[in-house]
Amino acid sequence: MAARRFESTGSTGTLLHIDWTRCDGRGLCTELLGDQLDRDEWGYPLARVDSGSLEARDRSNVPIPADQQDAAADAVALCPVQALRLVPRP
């Protein structure tokens, strides 16, 4: 099952795009994606720098590994202000 999910989403994974005009720092995404996202001192999501090469420094496009796709999809669906979107990794 895990292997199939891995294949279907591709080994490159996706990017979690954060729309800062909408983000209110409610913290649901930082709970669901604890390995990828931290909270800054005002509660807003902050990509963890160690979560995948230099890309992780981009605060608006957080790389999501294949095994976290479901959690990322949950975060997108549950975001109370619709600030999240999954985009294909370039």
Partner: protein, 185 residues
């Protein structure tokens, strides 16, 4: 059979109201952005949603059971158009208004990600009208509406909702509000 339908109608009405009360309280906690002990933020959102759906199911059974009850004498019209009932039309009409609001709030909540936030939020605020109307319907129309145990339940529920609402409108409601406005540090 009538006694059974009447008992089901009574019971599901009370349980539906309790579920609705808890859903309102959890909805306010959801908006605060704060976790509860043992319940992270995303879980509060999900419990809020599921509890609301449970309330809808109980209200549906409540309405259908009383539709087939010979004493309540509901017509299909009474499901959606208020104040045309044969028994206590005003108090029963409040129930119909609450059902209409519940349908609007639930449908827009389930379609939230398609509707957009503004429409969702506008309709969702109707919950603050829905809840007291449903409570008034329970007290005014319910067989147990004015019995002491139910008035205790209604009183405690009202206290809880009023307390949650005062917290909702207080300055410190949203998590990180104090740091974001620079009141501290």
């Amino acid at each position: 059979m009538d006694a059974a339908l009447w008992a089901i109608g009574r019971g599901t009405g009370v349980v539906g109201l309790v579920a609705l009360t808890l859903a309102v309280l959890l909805g306010i906690v959801t908006r605060s952005g704060r976790p509860l002990p043992g319940l992270p933020r995303f879980a509060i959102t999900l419990v809020h949603r599921n509890l609301s759906l449970v309330a809808c199911v109980f209200v549906l059974i409540h309405v259908v059971a009383l539709f087939f009850d010979s004493f309540a004498q509901l017509t299909l019209l009474d499901f959606v158009v208020p104040f045309f009932g044969s028994f206590l039309p005003f108090w029963q009409g409040l129930g119909t208004v609450a059902v209409d609001l519940l349908i609007a709030v639930t449908v827009t909540a389930l379609l939230r990600n398609r509707l957009g936030l503004r429409a969702f939020r506008l309709v969702h605020w109707l919950t603050y009208a829905l809840w007291p109307i449903a409570l008034a319907h329970a007290i005014g129309n319910g067989t147990d509406g004015t019995s002491p145990w139910f008035l205790w339940l209604a009183g405690i529920s009202t206290l809880a909702v009023v307390a949650a609402l005062s917290w909702r409108v207080s300055a410190r409601f949203v998590e990180f509000r104090s740091v974001r406005t620079g009141e501290t540090s």
